[in-house]
Amino acid sequence: MRRVFLPLFLGILFLTLQTTLLMSLPIQRIRPDIVLILTLYLGLSYPPISGGILAFFMGYLMDLFSGNVLGLYSLSRPLIFYLAQIFKDRVYLEGFLSQFLFVFLSAAVEGFLLLILFSGLNPSPLGNLYPLLFTVLLPQSFSTALITPILFPLFRRGSLFLSNPKGMRIRETG
């Protein structure tokens, strides 16, 4: 039960931070998507069903608090989660560079997907959206990837604690 509710609580906390604290960063375009990092981590460490539901819920929360009426994140977040599930046994994610690249590419893939869906589903033509690749997609993917090596080890410690709180305590005290 804890393995479901704690990530859920963490997702809500991250979303709150993303809509308040991270908005006060001097450059708004460089705003890391910390909920995406959590979703990717769930994709690497959680089972497909419970993790998939959690990813959907986080996407749903994103849709709820954003100006998006089409529910794009409710679709993209589970897809990103399953993408991470596919690659979890194929990529080595221990170093800074591998974690950075993994999250950067995932954020870029999600951005492309959102752009395609957004322009495809909108009833009126939106004009040229490709400048957004450079003004929004790349800066956001880069900033998200940059803080991943800080968050991934913290998530791992949290997961260890959840799976074996006593073991964690013994390890910590030596």
Binding site: L15, T19, D33, V35, S66, N68, V69, L114, N122, G127
Partner: protein
């Protein structure tokens, strides 16, 4: 003999006095320094407290000025409005919205216009009992029926993602120049007539077709929103000031 003894002993005495004075001086300076350090720490703390107080006062003065402006604007408009505070921004970079601390319990409904003293902000997109989400005019999904104040040319203001909007369905024959002010037409039903939307920054008459393209910068800085007004019911159009003539496009 006495003189010799004095001459022999005096250097030791001198040395001893020097050592004692040095030790005493160092000790005194140390004690003084300790005291000074304490005083310094106390003064630093006092400066920090005063600085904090000063910052709070400055912040209060700015907030007072902002609220005064909003109140004056509220008195000027003939619609009934609800004042709300912005408590959150859009979690994604792709969409443009803000969350307000007022919801259905306060009378906020979907589609209501959201404005500030500087002009139009957007409209209510989603509501909850105590909170609501506003779709900003810069969002791709936003569209507001507007007119150019000087020439009364009709157009639809659509969001362009960044802090810019696009003037769509503006007839090529219409006289529109850079600097022209765009206001709400009041036709949509949500916004009262004459609310400032922004000013035209770029006009493009190149290409074919019956429409020309124009880019508009919103009159409100949507990245720095703090307090807003939600129009719950609009009755009379807002009194418009005489339009200023803008620069001609070359």
């Amino acid at each position: 003999m006495d003189a010799l003894l004095i001459e022999l002993c005096s250097p030791f005495q001198k040395a001893s006095t020097f050592v004692i004075k040095t030790v005493q001086g160092t000790f005194r300076e140390y004690l003084f320094l300790v005291h000074l350090q304490k005083e310094n720490a106390g003064l630093k703390q006092r400066i920090a407290e005063l600085q904090k107080e000063n910052d709070q006062m400055k912040e209060m003065a700015i907030a007072h000025e902002r609220l005064q402006k909003l109140l004056q604007f509220r008195e000027k408009i003939s619609s009934s409005v609800i004042a709300a505070e912005v408590i959150g921004q859009d979690p994604s970079s792709w969409f443009k919205s803000v969350t307000l601390n007022k919801g259905e319990k306060d009378g906020v409904r979907k589609g209501m216009a959201v404005i500030s003293a500087e002009g139009v902000i957007g409209q209510i997109l989603k509501t909850a009992p105590d909170y609501s989400t506003v779709l900003l005019i810069t969002d791709y999904n936003s569209a507001i029926d507007s007119i150019v104040r000087r020439t009364r040319a009709k157009a639809i203001v659509e969001g362009k993602g960044e802090n810019r909007c696009l003037l769509k369905y503006l007839l090529r024959a219409d006289d529109v120049v850079v600097g022209d002010i765009v206001v709400t037409s009041g036709l949509g039903g949500n916004f009262p007539k004459g609310l400032m939307v922004g000013d035209i920054k770029k006009v493009d008459k190149r290409g074919h077709g019956i429409f020309q393209h124009a880019e508009l910068v919103p009159s409100v800085d949507l990245t720095k929103l703090e307090e807003v007004l939600v129009i719950t019911e609009s009755s009379l159009p807002i009194h418009e000031e005489k339009g200023k003539k803008g620069k001609k496009v070359k």
